[in-house]
Subunit: 174 residues, 2 copies
């Protein structure tokens, strides 16, 4: 999964898309307002690995996508849609060249995870509770504090693009 656009693209390339597609809370068009995840799932740093990625540009990070037991089981079984209880976490760190590694290598080629960067994000599956956003609750935490609603309203519109994998960008890395 890649929530890459949820925060840093805000107001840039996808602003129009977000503005036109994001369900706004308090809206009066008959759709349910999205409900967001406001607490960090405990123990997520101990979850198993789904995959890894690198984002260039403003994000410029190395990231790991972890899943709770429900998520890992569903991935490995190829189960779609993901069952209720699935939680997927996106951690990210600064994309840092490693002088130490490069020295041993004898050439510049190694990039490692530096300090945490771009917050921590989650997708929580509950088909009923999060019906307004495809069955997924979205969350973004900076230094443990949840991002505000304007930020979270940018998640669902982009994840909607991945209809054939239940809105989840990340594939399992074997």
């Amino acid at each position: 999964m890649r929530w890459i656009v949820c925060v840093l693209v805000e107001g840039v390339a996808l602003a129009g898309m977000v503005a036109s597609m994001a369900p706004a809370s308090g809206q009066a068009d008959g759709e349910a307002a999205p409900i967001f995840v406001t607490e960090i799932p405990p123990g997520y740093r101990d979850w198993r690995l789904i995959s890894v990625a690198h984002e260039e540009g403003d994000l410029n990070d190395l990231r790991a996508i972890l899943g709770n037991d429900v998520a890992i089981k569903a991935y490995r079984e190829g189960r779609l849609p993901f069952p209720d209880g699935t939680i997927i976490a996106r951690l990210a760190w600064s994309y840092d060249p490693s002088e130490e590694n490069n020295t041993v290598f004898g050439r510049p080629q190694s990039f490692v995870a530096g300090p945490p960067k771009n917050g921590v994000q989650f997708m929580v599956k509950d088909a009923k509770k999060y019906a307004a956003t495809g069955g997924w609750g979205f969350a973004h935490f900076n230094d443990g504090k949840p991002a505000d609603e304007a930020v979270l309203n940018t998640c669902f519109p982009c994840h909607q693009a991945i209809k054939d994998r239940d809105l989840v960008f990340t594939r399992y890395a074997p």
Copy 2:
């Protein structure tokens, strides 16, 4: 940890270093011959994440470093040297641009893990058993088959450079 040089640099930048430093099996200079790890530690894909990295150049991969429970505990406690029983795994996948993500992004910036690449590697700590190589047994598996001794002999010489962290390149990513 980065065994980046163990295989693909063989015969290139570090060839001289390897030739001069690697303990060769059957050597007659009084040092013990290195002992290598020949079986894949079971269940390693379920281990917890230590960190992630990207290697450019010939390796051109995205990688994850996982640790067994002993490894994760030692990392989190800052324990050095790593205790016997520590096992650290290096998985790697093809470094693939994601057209799918980039389309949603509206720009090319997303790189994800493709198929497995560059084998799977392990460091196993047993101070007595692997005394000839700093207390670490080294392993590299391609498609489940252990690499030959010539390859494994290239691991220790480079890991030796990281004396202050018990020969382990990778730092824990919080």
